[in-house]
Symmetry: C2
Subunit: 537 residues, 2 copies
Amino acid sequence: MMNLPLTVGAMLERAEKFFPKKQIISRTSTKVSRLTYKEIGQRTRRLASALANLGVSQGDCVGTLAWNHHRHLETYFAAPGMGAVLHTINIRLSEEHIVYIINHAEDKVLLIDEDVLPLIEKVSDQLKTVKAFIVMSDEKILPESTLSPLYSYEQLLEEEDEKFEFVKEIDENLPAGMCYTSATTGNPKGVVYSHRGIVLHSFAMGLADTAAISESDRCMPVVPMFHANAWGLPFTATLLGTTQILPGPQFTPKLLAELIESEAVTVTAGVPTIWLGLLNELEKGNYDTSSLRAVLCGGAAAPRGMIKAYESKYNIPFLHAYGMTETSPLVTLSRLKSYQENLAEEERLEVRSMQGLLVPGLEMKVAGAAGETSWNGEEMGELLIRGPWIADEYYKDERSEEAFQDGWLHTGDVVTVDQEGVIKIVDRTKDLIKSGGEWISSVDIENALMAHEAVFEASVVAVAHNEWQERPVACVVLKDEFKKTVTKEDLREFLTPQFARWWLPDDIVFLEEIPKTSVGKFLKRALRDQLKNHFVH
Amino acid sequence: MMNLPLTVGAMLERAEKFFPKKQIISRTSTKVSRLTYKEIGQRTRRLASALANLGVSQGDCVGTLAWNHHRHLETYFAAPGMGAVLHTINIRLSEEHIVYIINHAEDKVLLIDEDVLPLIEKVSDQLKTVKAFIVMSDEKILPESTLSPLYSYEQLLEEEDEKFEFVKEIDENLPAGMCYTSATTGNPKGVVYSHRGIVLHSFAMGLADTAAISESDRCMPVVPMFHANAWGLPFTATLLGTTQILPGPQFTPKLLAELIESEAVTVTAGVPTIWLGLLNELEKGNYDTSSLRAVLCGGAAAPRGMIKAYESKYNIPFLHAYGMTETSPLVTLSRLKSYQENLAEEERLEVRSMQGLLVPGLEMKVAGAAGETSWNGEEMGELLIRGPWIADEYYKDERSEEAFQDGWLHTGDVVTVDQEGVIKIVDRTKDLIKSGGEWISSVDIENALMAHEAVFEASVVAVAHNEWQERPVACVVLKDEFKKTVTKEDLREFLTPQFARWWLPDDIVFLEEIPKTSVGKFLKRALRDQLKNHFVH
């Protein structure tokens, strides 16, 4: 067979050749543009040419600080198309982390949305490798800025060559993209995506048995393009000539609902928070969402009630997926097997609310307390993944050793696998309670507690214990109206019929508030610190 | 990203792990078996182990002479699974060519259907490399045979290890499969398929935008497993856990219709002749074909009337595809683009009856008389293809030089490409008439002639001409009842309004019969020889 490399550039070329009339609908802070793949192709080639003229060489990183819009999409292909590396930067990170990331990746050029300029202006004197800034604005006129040299995206394009040739005769294992993922402690960790990985991931997303992205779709990635390449959708959609709807900055549930209706969106993707917001909006307004064939949901577990509301109330099929920055990100997707379609509705929902089946092309293993676990829906273990779109290291980072062992990515997610091979995430390894050689899922107990009418929030953590190594302690915030009436004993009684005796928390501690991370997740580390001597008497 | 190779073994492993209960329904000459992927997996591992014990080493060829059944499927994975090469041999070839193929590929072991044994017995003394024969029969008892050593497939499996480990840590570019394709003259030419090529082709076949093979399908390849890996369907279906229905030897249109109904087949694949036969059967019988979502048709152009009959009369979607042994084989597929769905029915049929759009992952070029052709639906040129599942040579064959140039496969097919990028095959390069620097399609004139009520068969060939280099001459067989009444002039008059003047044949020669190849195609070479001095006076 021919030794032809899989390249990102070739994906856009296909759209240019076969789908030149298909559109990208792009919302920026000032307007909505409609460009064809032919135009996107020409503009991408101009940008690639501009990057080369700015001194970007093969293997250099090109950073982006931008929302979901057509200029970001053009950069997705221009950087790898000219042999450089697309480095998408999470604009929600702290200034300190953004500075770290840019210096660590050694970004040569930064492409920045106009509303993000102030952030970079503040830290520009700390950036060690950046040689040029490009502002991604609808205007050719440069805004007032302390950044230098600063170029206007549209002005740059005007001066460049729309016939610039993409680099295609390269080693497909060379880097094409990069994204940093937040760590529990310390600096974010860099993940490098190869041309091969991106192309294979795009094929995987187009399979009838996964997300089934198709030319006939109208695809709206709500997940930011700085989060694991917006789950690879901009790449996949381009490969297939799919119409893309890019919702731009500061979108609201109302705007999303309006876009779904006006642009007849067929497939969209985002985290559960987005879909909770949209659900509220759908309750309020009167929107036509009949075009939607799938809502892809990942990043965190989607509540079962929400999946049910979408499917039964709005007839919108909900596709629960699982992945992480390290995995490009698609790992599993919760489609039913053909013979599961006959299950009762509640059972179907049960399967659909789990993380799903491993997609073709990847391999998995579940490492439990005593070797590989059985697929019985009960035994817990850490999910290990390998495959051609899974990272094999963190970029120049000592923390690689822990996560990548013997050719497997250790996801840090604790899962059970049922007899059909369907994965359910039950905890993070670091939050799991290891009691006398057995494992207890903190998440399961939390979910049970939060189903009690008096409980506002609950977080269950491991506390060191002389006899059992660790034992669970539940931290509970009661709703105001129950604060005087509900006791530890009430909650313990409520839990007792639901769990094995040894799973029950040894203590329940009432708090006024559970400490949280900047993105609103429970800060279990703080709770563990607080309770570390709880059993020391 | 991880440097994990794409391997054939890993595809079966996925089915074993995630779809162990799904079935392979297999018809042999004596019975119909139903085996699960779990059983197929165990049996495949036993076979792989047996091959190793018979002395097959990495890179050795394992030949098959077999119809479509589960043992053939097991061999599809056992040979590459243990590092050897699956060599499927076309049992319809001449003895001489079969001997050439086996010796040229240096097959170490031959797996043979019981009804094919006599063929191999006759030539066994000419086979130079074969060390063992295995008869693929439902029985463990060996039939009477002069072949030696001869093993029973089922007896062999019984003695082997069902936990045999597939070779997965190999270079994905190593050979996994092999198939010889007939040449116009001389011996068949060998095409080698790599692990990488087979896996990528399988992904391509599973895309929502191509054949969309899915776990929920019930897939019946009618195209023989010795023809370009049954278009890759056994590989794709296994990767996705799809139910497979293998129709075995000597099937009839009636049997196919019955299988479609009884096994609720959703997708099937074969050449136009098969679908003409099935269409006749559907007219006669009363079959429920409502399960069918797609009939894949390739190998030759499907008549437009047939496509229409399937779609409008039986509501069976017809998917016209194009490929060849050298291309694994999927190259194009005639799906409509989303915005073409709005065309009038006849226009849709027009598009659908062409060969279609290039599938993702491949690249094409059309080389006309004066460089690359325009996509205007008129300019003709030879189709050139490249990509990761396209062969880069014929195995140890001098004829490689002609077909593989500058990294492109020269298909020998002359095509036009319309403005949407849809390919239509208009001729074979060797049958094209090159008249005064312009090209004339022999096929177009033949089709026009055959639409005349008096014409039974017509073949148009190039004849050497002093002034124009070549000019077309039409060879026509009239239907008996018109032999005395219809003249050359009548036919010329019939053609005149349909073509440019310079396309019209310089002469029309009436024959009693058009010489044909062993598979029923017009033997144009013989006609050209016969007419070579037609314009020499």
